[in-house]
């Protein structure tokens, strides 16, 4: 009996060690000089072949590509210092926070010649006035993605998300700044408010909205909306354009109360051990051909002037996809409200979900 188990176990063991060794061999390859960089990006936020293209162009750099779901998740991973990322792609307000806390390395712009393709409109922004720490990757807005066959009311206002008619048909983002921000706009306040009374009001509105919400998700929203499992969703513009290309019943609207427009930029955290290679990667991402592949696949607005020439002119002319300055007059960029108020944002989102 024991012998039988032993024999079976030995067989299993042998097979597994073989598998491990094979895997290890194919994984590490032959050259010992290879550098591995850890790239930390949002889910579904890069062209299908970009990483493979990069590794083909730079055979001595291996990319370890990982995803996060929200700015906050990413921040905690980097802040705890447990993990060493070489490139991360946070948004505006989070870049400011990380910069203030000394989590970002200065980028050597001379190593990024492709930076010249970035439109001046996306340089010298408040979170990085000297253009020393970040290289813009994509930008976009937050809006309402809705199914034309299921929604009859006007979608040009955030108030529709509180309409009882769409009970269990509404998808909200599981991301504190976005959900609270949209609610603040609905109430007529600033998305960057530091007024606790206004935030409390937003909390109440979100709790009141909860019975109408089908789910709080981030990346899953694409499947849900394409599959017509919900009528309305608060989404980022790129997700909206991706879904619209998959299902023609869908449309995207930016409510008149104004919204959040945001910039996701590539940064090098101080935990990086391969700054040179990180810069090579960032430069590669700004290469017009690569940046075109990215923008074309994920559907967000590119800050790259060359890429805009390559894209479908109808898309670039679409003022929902590429809003002009005057379209964004009532809209805001998220700012980091400081640690004290930020705690309130976090607390409110915890309480909304806890209710």
């Amino acid at each position: 009996m024991a012998k039988r188990i032993k024999r079976a176990a030995t067989a299993v063991l042998a097979a597994l060690s073989l598998a491990v060794m094979l895997g290890a061999c194919s994984g590490t390859g032959s050259s010992a000089e290879k550098v591995t960089i850890n790239v930390f990006n949002w889910g579904e936020y890069i062209g299908e072949t970009t990483i493979a293209d990069f590794e083909k162009t730079y055979p001595n750099i291996k990319v370890n590509y990982e995803n996060f779901t929200t700015n906050e998740d990413m921040y905690v991973k980097i802040k705890t210092g447990g993990s060493a990322y070489d490139v991360a792609i946070p948004s505006d307000y989070m870049i400011k926070r990380m910069l203030d806390e000394g989590l970002l390395n200065k980028i050597d712009m001379s190593g990024i010649p492709n930076y010249k393709y970035i439109d001046g409109r996306f340089k010298s922004l408040s979170y990085d006035p000297g253009n020393e720490y970040s290289v813009p990757y994509m930008w976009g807005t937050v809006g309402i993605l809705y199914n034309k066959t299921m929604v009859s009311d006007p979608t040009d206002t955030w108030k529709i998300l509180w309409n009882e008619k769409y009970k269990k048909q509404i998808i909200m983002p599981d991301s504190e700044r976005d959900s609270i921000g949209v609610t603040l706009k609905m109430l007529g306040y600033s998305m960057n408010t530091k007024n606790i009374a206004e935030l409390e009001e937003a909390r109440k509105a979100l709790i009141q909205q909860k019975p109408l919400v089908q789910a709080y998700v981030v990346d899953e929203v694409r499947d849900i909306m394409i599959g017509e499992s919900a009528a309305l969703a608060v989404v980022w513009s790129g997700d909206a354009y991706y879904c619209m290309s998959e299902n023609e019943n869908l449309a995207y609207s930016i409510p008149k109360e104004g919204t959040n427009y945001w910039f996701d930029s590539m940064v090098i955290p101080t935990t990086s051990k391969h700054k040179k290679e990180a810069e090579i990667f960032i430069n590669f991402m700004c290469d017009p051909k690569i940046a075109f592949n990215n923008a074309d696949y994920i559907g967000y607005a590119t800050p790259n002037t060359e890429v805009m020439k390559l894209l479908d002119p109808a898309l670039v002319a679409d003022r929902n996809a590429y809003p002009l300055k005057e379209d964004l007059e009532s809209s805001e960029i998220f700012e980091y409200p400081g640690d004290e108020v930020n705690k309130e944002y976090s607390r409110i989102w915890t309480e909304v979900k806890a209710d």
Binding site: L16, N64, A84
Partner: protein, 270 residues
């Protein structure tokens, strides 16, 4: 009549247990990405699965960690079990309480407490921390598998060997070890399976660049339909099925519900 009802009930339960698995298997051959519509037969997702670097890397990590962790846990744990068995009453109960601690503790607490420790002692989260965490939650199961076998042992066996002039280590290897071997093997297999299946503790104790299969599936599942996951499930199901059938066939003459008992032991870590 009564028999028919019983059969029907059992059938429904097995349907409930297997419906999700079979759905995944069927849809792994579906030509379209959809969850609901059949659009022709294909093997393409299997090809894509093997080309998916992320999945393949995490598979390698999963197997490496499970193998190293369960081997280490088996060696350290077997030695520990022998030591514990020979301890005085007070020491024994203290150590046994320590052993039960991670078994009874919710996984999420084990996970975050280890994460806090690693960050506290400034250890970069990654392969090392993942391995340390896996060894830690494997150890008690090895001990709990080996101890009962030691209890069944004839106490005078070892002394007799010493009296006959054997050095302790030699006596242990020749006399004790063969007797407790089934417990050691059970402990190893248990530890290995637990390592393979773990998600929560790995989730908190791993860092950049190192991800287990569970973690990869989690991040993929959150991004919605992915036929590659279906293909992966199908392959895993077949492997598990074949392994279990072989083990069951080899041991069915001896223990009846051995598999069941072991599965019951798994419970606390899932």
């Amino acid at each position: 009549m009564k028999k028919a009802v019983k059969k029907l009930y059992l059938f429904l339960i097995y349907l409930f247990l297997y419906a999700p698995v079979f759905t995944l298997i069927i849809f792994s051959f579906n030509n379209s990405k959809s969850r609901a519509h059949w659009d022709g037969f294909t093997f393409k997702w299997y090809g894509e699965l093997f080309r998916d670097k992320q999945i393949m890397t995490s598979l390698t990590y999963t197997l490496t960690v499970a193998l190293l962790a369960s081997l280490t846990a088996t060696i350290v744990g077997t030695a520990a079990a022998v030591g514990i068995f020979n301890m005085k009453k007070l020491g024994k109960s203290l150590v046994m309480n320590l052993t039960y601690l991670p078994v009874l503790n919710p996984d999420i607490v084990t996970g975050i407490s280890l994460m806090i420790l690693f960050i506290f002692i400034n250890l970069k989260l990654g392969f090392t921390t993942l391995l340390l965490a896996h060894i830690t939650f494997n150890l008690p199961y090895v001990i709990l598998s080996v101890l009962p076998k030691l209890k069944q042992l004839n106490k005078h066996l070892f002394e007799a060997a010493l009296d006959l002039g054997a050095v302790p280590l030699h006596a242990f290897r020749k006399v004790i070890l063969p007797e407790i071997m089934p417990g050691v093997v059970t402990g190893f297999l248990l530890a290995f399976t637990l390592s393979l299946d773990d998600f929560i503790i790995s989730f908190f104790t791993t860092g950049s660049g190192v991800s287990t299969l569970s973690i990869t599936v989690y991040s993929m599942a959150r991004r919605g339909v992915n036929p590659k996951i279906n293909a992966l499930s199908t392959l895993m199901f077949i492997v598990v099925l074949v392994l279990l059938l072989i083990i069951n066939k080899r041991s069915s003459a001896g223990e009846g519900s051995g598999g069941a008992k072991e599965t019951a032991k798994l419970s606390n870590l899932i």
